[in-house]
């Protein structure tokens, strides 16, 4: 690998562009976690009793759990008592329209390249923006309502559709599922809620942008997506956080339910602050995402581009319960500097003729550590189940690491499971070839990495694909030298 090309080094040292801090007053709960804090959150959110009890049960269960240690990640112990579990931008009352939203907050989204007004209108994207833990504005609510679609903050869903929340909440990721999911269930403060009624094809992409702003705050959002029979929806999620020297915890839960013939496509571009080039600061991203193909012929597809976070620990999974249901996982995870990613998926084949596809692309640069961890499980009744898995790793420089841990458990003899894996390196000869054609070093790296990730990035909706491609280039800062 070339060590001395000045333009390449300059490019690789580029800064995290979303790292600004916004001077917005926050309504903060005291640091620490106990039952009183949970009650405070519940009161602040004006929640029904069932939800408070659900939270408390999750909390009591969490107390009996220990942090998982099986992932290939290392970090100093997290002090769960040093975190604010509730941080909300201060405001007198809930905004009725975008005009009432704090202009400073709207400026933050603009800096992030998400002007709610124009972008929403031009792109036809309905945006729900979650700032720290509170959903700020949801655009296009009315237009969606005409189709019977509910797209709102989780808090609004609790107020306006408590029966749907109660029916589906925790049915895919039970509150005691794992340490971080239990923590989320106890303290989650907001998130997004989507319900697509029977037979409705959502007329636009739904989108949520998450941002952590307040100091020492955690973000614990919870997203619940329900696609009723024959419904279809494509949902996008984007994330950023300011640059801070302290590590911040993000422990989200996403649950998706697809009933008969429903299709849900969930795309993520995760650009949480990754820490600086010496590994200081950055988001600890411990996320539980799971979808259940509950109905026959349903389909759930996860696409993720993970470029941010100091630590990424997430395994978007699909429970293939309905016969002939389909699960997909397309992932690009990039680690640079001291970033660590342990990510992958679980495909649990329960129904007959269920099919799953896994395509994972890991890119490691600097001293980054990139691990694919995946489980393909075929249960005894999953007659005719099929899985295809492809795991590719790309190394940039000599100090990074890539690891693959595929777990395969098959209990039905008719199942077909395929696994392919490759590891390659961005070669000095590849860079030279591109540069000899007049392409700058930085564009050459971006082209080569983009080529490697193409199969996954092309799964994203067009608008996100462009953003993801750029992010992959920018995120390689400091990977050489």
């Amino acid at each position: 690998m070339s060590q001395s090309n000045p333009s390449l080094v300059e490019f690789l040292e580029r800064d995290y562009a979303a790292g600004f801090i916004s001077p917005i007053d926050s309504d903060l709960a005291p640091k620490g976690l106990n039952e009183d804090i949970i009650r405070l959150i519940s009161v602040k959110k004006n929640e029904p009793e069932f939800l408070l009890q659900w939270r408390l049960k999750a909390y009591r269960h969490w107390l009996t759990l220990a942090e998982p240690t099986w992932a290939k990640i290392h970090h100093p112990p997290i002090d769960y008592q040093a975190i604010h579990y509730y941080a909300a931008p201060k405001r007198d009352k809930a905004p009725k329209s975008l005009d009432e939203v704090d202009p400073e907050l709207l400026r933050v989204y603009e800096k992030l390249g998400i002007p709610l007004h124009e972008r929403a209108a031009l792109a036809g994207v309905a945006v729900d923006a979650v700032f720290d833990s509170v959903s700020v504005a949801t655009t296009f609510k009315d237009k969606l309502a005409q189709h019977g679609i509910i797209f709102c903050s989780f808090s609004d869903a609790v107020q306006n559709h408590p029966e749907l929340v109660q029916q589906y909440l925790g049915t895919v990721v039970p509150p005691g599922d794992n340490f971080f999911a239990a923590l989320n269930a106890a303290v989650f403060t907001d998130g997004s809620f989507v319900y697509i009624p029977k037979g409705v094809r959502c007329p636009m992409e739904l989108s949520t942008y998450f941002r952590i702003n307040a100091k020492d705050s955690g973000q614990f959002e919870r997203t619940l997506i329900i696609a009723d029979e024959g419904a279809q929806v494509s949902y996008l999620e984007g994330c950023t956080a300011p640059r801070r020297d302290e590590n911040q915890l993000h422990a989200a839960v996403v649950e998706i339910i697809a009933l008969d013939d429903a299709r849900v496509k969930y795309s993520t571009v995760q650009n949480w602050y990754p820490g600086d080039k010496d590994g200081k600061g950055g988001i600890y991203n411990f996320v539980t995402k799971r979808g259940e193909c509950r109905g026959a012929r349903s389909r759930i597809s996860w696409t993720q581009v993970e470029t941010g976070s100091a630590i990424t620990w997430k395994y978007p999974s699909v429970l293939l319960r309905g016969d002939d249901s389909v699960g997909e996982f397309y992932s690009v995870a990039l680690t640079n500097h001291f970033q660590q990613a342990d990510t992958g998926t679980k495909m649990i084949h329960i129904g007959r003729n269920t099919r799953s596809t896994i395509v994972s692309k890991g890119i490691s640069a600097g001293r980054g550590s990139n691990t694919y961890r995946g489980l393909v499980k075929v249960l005894p009744k999953a007659e005719g189940a099929r899985n295809y898995t492809q795991c590719d790793s790309l190394l940039i420089g000599a100090r990074c690491g890539a690891h693959t841990f595929p777990y395969i458990e098959v209990r039905n003899p008719s199942a077909q499971v395929e696994h392919e894996a490759t590891t390659s390196r961005v070669g000095e000869d590849q860079l030279f070839y591109c540069m000899q054609r007049g392409i700058s070093a930085e564009d050459a790296v971006a082209l080569i990495v983009g080529g490697f990730a193409r199969e996954v990035v092309k799964q994203l909706p067009m608008e996100f694909a462009v953003e993801a491609q750029k992010l992959l280039g920018v995120s390689l800062e400091g990977s050489v030298g």
């Binding site: 030279f432 054609r437 007049g438 199969e455």
Partner: protein, 270 residues
């Protein structure tokens, strides 16, 4: 052999001027004082046995960092070529067709070609081409080269045969229209048909403004692309210079006559 008048070397400022070029790799001297002028419009062949420094010369001119220049100067179109990073040499109009074009899996040919062409256009102050204009241009060139359009969507040289890789480099050359193209063993590993196609592409590039340098082992390339001048590299130096007939002598006698002392006399003899 009589050359058409338009291909006669012109008495203009050399496009490439190499003086006393010395190069090492891993502490070992590979080029030991090269002097060479190439004028616009010239087609120059460089021959020499394995290890004589032909590929090193090509790579050093293109800016490969693996090699260390320990002495000498190279001026390209009046500029200090050695001071420029590889991409700026390319933008100034220097093109290298590689002996072994590298594979870049997943990166489709069409992206690389478009990025390269638009980088050139930007450098020349021309607007970037949009996708439609670009495709029209590149598809026309592919037809001339007898390349299937499917090449555009394939990964760069990914799983290409040797001949396909060389043809792909010719496509890039035709698209980028360089001022100086160095073809490093472009004929090696080609069957007769592929050699014909490559020769046709190279001959189509001949122009009074452009210089071509053919690096080769074999005389057969020089039968289909007739050079104006020839140089023979021997142990990191130019040991003999002459016309196309020099190639035939090498074909007959090999390189033995280039032993120190014999070089000058032989060169004058031919």
């Amino acid at each position: 052999m009589q050359m058409p008048a338009r291909l006669q070397p012109q008495a203009t400022q050399p496009l490439l001027q190499i003086r006393g070029l010395r190069v090492e790799i891993d502490g070992k001297r590979v080029l030991d004082g090269i002097d060479l002028d190439i004028a616009p419009g010239e087609v120059v062949a460089i021959m020499g046995p394995n290890g004589s420094g032909k590929t090193t010369l090509a790579q050093v001119l293109a800016g490969r960092e693996l090699y260390r220049v320990t002495g000498g100067t190279v001026r390209f179109d009046g500029q200090d070529l050695l001071a420029l990073p590889p991409q700026e040499r390319a933008l100034a109009g220097l093109f290298l067709a590689f002996q072994y074009p590298v594979e870049i899996p997943g990166l489709s040919n069409v992206y690389l070609l478009k990025a390269a062409l638009n980088a050139q256009r930007k450098h020349r102050g021309l607007p970037e081409l949009d996708a439609m204009e670009f495709l029209q241009q590149v598809k026309a060139l592919m037809r001339e080269l007898g390349m299937d359009e499917k090449f555009l969507q394939r990964g760069v040289n990914e799983g290409f045969s040797g001949g396909e890789k060389k043809r792909n480099d010719m496509l890039q050359m035709a698209l980028l229209q360089p001022r100086l193209a160095i073809l490093d063993e472009t004929d090696s590993g080609l069957d007769v048909d592929a050699l014909k196609a490559v020769a046709q592409a190279v001959n189509a590039m001949r122009s009074p403004e452009r210089a071509l340098v053919l690096i080769t082992h074999y005389e057969r390339l020089l039968e289909v692309i007739v050079p104006d001048r020839m140089h023979v590299l021997w142990q990191g130096r130019i040991a003999a210079s002459g016309g196309a007939e020099l190639a035939r002598r090498i074909e007959r006698e090999g390189y033995a006559w280039l032993q120190p002392g014999a070089a000058l006399a032989s060169a004058q003899e031919v």
